[in-house]
Amino acid sequence: MDRQIKTLQDKNSYLDLQKEKRITLLEVLDRALDKGVVISGDIVISVADVDLIYLGLKVLLSSVETMERLRGSPFSGAAEEPT
């Protein structure tokens, strides 16, 4: 599955970053993009991969969406289509 996550700033300005900044950035990315507490918020599901192990969690959140609809919240309405 391809990541839906978009690119960083365009290649030229990335290459302009000094080496120290690039390595700091790479080190941070190595951690923050994939690790830590990995749980699905509602919006993350619609813009990033759908991890199969979180399918159950999606179900959980679907019922939350129903709750929103019943309460007439601004978030009620058609479900977001994954990009």
Binding site: A32, S62, V64
Partner: protein, 283 residues
């Protein structure tokens, strides 16, 4: 308006210090029982990963670490509402507590090691060529030539990986007595011999650094990268796995949550679980 999360903290108190997060919004604590999640509000859902946002995310976590034990949350974990966030915290409460206890006063260090893969493979090939080839393959046809070449590559690759394991063990030896846990990734690329994360007590940071200095000063073909201290990204273990059974619990949990918030209970419906009807991209 959506809620952007940075980390789970071991406190239900308001965050004293003024911390600014993404889009310059203030970071505050959404508490649940004796823990909380540090969040800030975003105008709309985030579309892009930019270096500014990622670095800001990291910066917020590191500031929080000066005051609390923090379980860093993956970048771009966003919730529509506070209630949804609380549902998740309730679901993972025990996991969060366990991790907070385990990671209190600990930090993560990263050690990356590179080696010259081509040269190593060349050396292995030289040794291999000197040996008598035990399999007698007369390269008198395209098929046999192909096999001979493949076989040589295969043996070299195998030896290469075994050498990697040996080398990694030597490097790891410098650190494994100082660290309480470690995560090791071997040969992510052929040149990146090792990408390791070590969990180190705050009081052992200097020892760890010293061990690295020792490693660095030992002559070898290796190149090193040392980074840290970091939030403990690599050492979060969540044992609870959501399953479809949680759907049926969700109604119950939601009603309880709504009651807590002083809102009317959701009406019960008898219907098929949503996930069967393809909502939100489900099957």
């Amino acid at each position: 308006m959506v809620i952007y999360t940075y980390g789970v903290i071991d406190s239900k108190d308001t965050i004293d210090e003024t911390i600014f997060g993404l889009e310059g919004a203030g970071v505050y604590n959404v508490s649940y029982r004796d823990i909380g999640v540090a969040v800030s509000e975003l105008g709309e859902k985030m579309q892009e990963i930019t270096d500014t946002n990622v670095l800001k995310h990291e910066e917020v976590i590191e500031t929080l670490m000066t005051k609390f034990t923090v379980l860093p949350i993956r970048f771009s974990t966003i919730f529509n509402t506070k209630e949804e966030l609380l549902l998740i915290v309730e679901f993972y409460y025990q996991d969060f507590k366990d991790n907070l206890d385990r990671l209190r006063n600990k930090v993560e260090f990263g050690i990356k090691v590179m080696w010259p893969a081509k040269i190593i493979k060349q050396r292995i090939a030289e040794v291999y060529n000197k040996r008598k080839f035990t399999v007698s393959i007369m390269a008198d046809s395209p098929g046999k030539t192909f096999v001979k070449e493949k076989f040589e590559k295969h043996i070299i690759e195998k030896e290469f990986e075994e050498e990697a394991v040996r080398c990694i063990a030597v490097v790891d030896d410098y650190f494994n007595k100082i660290a309480s846990e470690r995560k090791i990734k071997k040969l992510q690329t052929e040149n990146l011999l090792l990408n390791a994360a070590y969990l180190v007590g705050k009081d052992k940071q200097d020892d760890f650094k010293k061990a690295f200095e020792q490693l660095k000063s030992t002559p070898s073909d290796l190149k090193f990268l040392f980074s840290g201290p970091w939030p403990c990204y690599n050492f979060i273990t969540l044992t609870k796995k959501p399953s479809s059974a949680d759907y049926f619990n969700a109604e119950h949990m939601l009603n309880r949550l709504l009651a807590q918030q002083g809102l009317p209970e959701r009406v019960q419906h008898d219907h098929e679980p949503r996930y069967l009807t393809g909502m939100n991209g489900g099957f």
